[in-house]
Amino acid sequence: MDNDLRINFMWHLIWDYRGELIQGLWTAVAVSITALFLSLFIGLVFALAKMSRFAFFRGLSTIYVNIFRGIPALVSVIWVYFGWSLLFGRNFTVYQAGVIALTLLYSAFFSEIFRSALQAIHKGQREAGMALGMTRIRIFRSIIMPQGLKIAIPNIGSMYIGMIKDTSTFAVIGLAEVVRVTQTINSQYFQPFVLYTAAALLYVAIAFLVDYIFKGFESTITYPSNGILYRFLTRKKRAHIQKLVDANS
């Protein structure tokens, strides 16, 4: 095959469109962060339902998890954005639809993550709380949840990277995230390699960042912790304890 077939890599496009690309990344992050908080909450609810005494709640949770774990993001967002509108006449914005679709999918995953994390807490912890006369809700809030969260955090971090990646599917409803931005630029220049490379770089960069943030968060809530953030947040408490020790000894 001839070698005079030229490929013209217009790498400068990445720089030229940096504003749009960053904006796209920002959109992806915004949608996925909103969905992260919602799906953590809903996931926790379904995790608790799965551990409930009532078979009905357990069954509900199993069905929910298995359905939404299985649906591809593409299909989910098309249903939420178009299907809902056609069936019920209520229109979600692109942003809302993206958040809802992601939340449906990932709440199912988070439910499993929470369940296994909460189940990993030794039952002696709950019993110790009960023996001290703490209420069930208090035990959950002060004893079980903080310890479960620590176990769950690395998995939440991984899942969040998955959520950001899945926003790339939402190009189909016109969400202006990174892949859609690159596609739009691409349709003007037909420079797929340059632009998909840019997208990949942005995604990898954000994955590293998310990893770093979650690691930091994990080390902060590790006990005992030497994290700077931890020491800063607990400085008052530690001073108080020191005062009590001095006063009593």
Binding site: L5, I7, S187, Y189, Y196
Partner: protein, 247 residues
């Protein structure tokens, strides 16, 4: 006739003509009920391959894969009716026009906006189009005050109007016809003269001048012999507007 020498055409696979297309646009190009490629583009390509004595090989994939495939030498030719613009010409090589398109403005059944450009070219009107299509370009130039929303899938762009989020869509007339046939009564064309007509091109890899020349010559030959028009009429079901004259 003597066997033609195709060795100068820089073909991906000697003896073959590998074509990338998206067989999702009936009647222009689609998979028929026997799962075989069909439509205007395909019939043209078949004749081309026969005349060049090449074996025709169709690579059917999403639109998103066509340009990467061409650039990375997976296909000799992309046949999907690409519109031309100066930016794109820096990355791929256009052969010549073969597919006439006319874009129309389509709106919801109950829409009462007057059928004039001025009535539609106002802030707050939302108009959709297929992402990166020339239709999208026309919205920008014809209705600059309106908001353009692009979708990577054609049906998303239609459904945005059906769901009432957008006021109208600019789309190729035959795509609208097809949508309406399967979902009658949801949308109606605005009784405005065709917004714009344009031509789709065959494209080959940047630098492959020999192939471009050979294909352009073949198209001109067939165009002048009236064959292109005949195939179009037979496949698309209506008369073909005139293609630009060959030099």
């Amino acid at each position: 006739s003597a066997r033609e020498d195709t060795s100068k055409l820089n073909l991906v696979k000697p003896g073959h003509l590998v074509v990338g297309m998206t067989l999702q646009f009936p009647p222009q190009m689609y998979l028929n009920s026997a799962k075989k490629p069909a439509g205007y583009d395909y019939q043209l390509l078949r004749r081309l391959a026969r005349d060049l004595r090449l074996k025709l090989e169709i690579k059917n994939m999403d639109f998103g894969g066509l340009i990467p495939g061409l650039v990375s030498k997976q296909f000799d030719l992309v046949s999907v009716g690409l519109g031309k613009n100066p930016d794109r010409e820096k990355s791929i090589l256009y052969v010549r026009e073969y597919m006439p398109y006319s874009t129309i403005l389509v709106t919801g059944k109950g829409n009462k906006t007057r059928p004039t450009v001025d009535a539609w070219n106002v802030a707050g009107k939302k108009i959709t189009a297929l992402q990166g299509s020339l239709a999208a370009g026309f919205v920008k130039t014809t209705f600059p005050k309106a908001t353009l929303v692009e979708f990577p899938l054609q049906d998303s762009a239609f459904l945005e109007v059906v769901s009432g989020r957008a006021d109208a869509i600019v789309a190729e007339a035959n795509l609208y016809g097809f949508f309406n046939k399967n979902n009658p009564g949801l949308l109606k064309p605005v009784a405005m003269p065709n917004l714009r007509s344009y031509f789709g091109h065959w494209t080959v890899q940047l630098g492959n001048e020999p192939l471009k020349t050979r294909l352009a010559n073949w198209l001109c030959e067939k165009q002048e012999a009236g064959i292109v028009k005949a195939v179009f009429r037979q496949q698309m079901g209506y008369k073909m507007p005139d293609l630009p004259a060959c030099k």
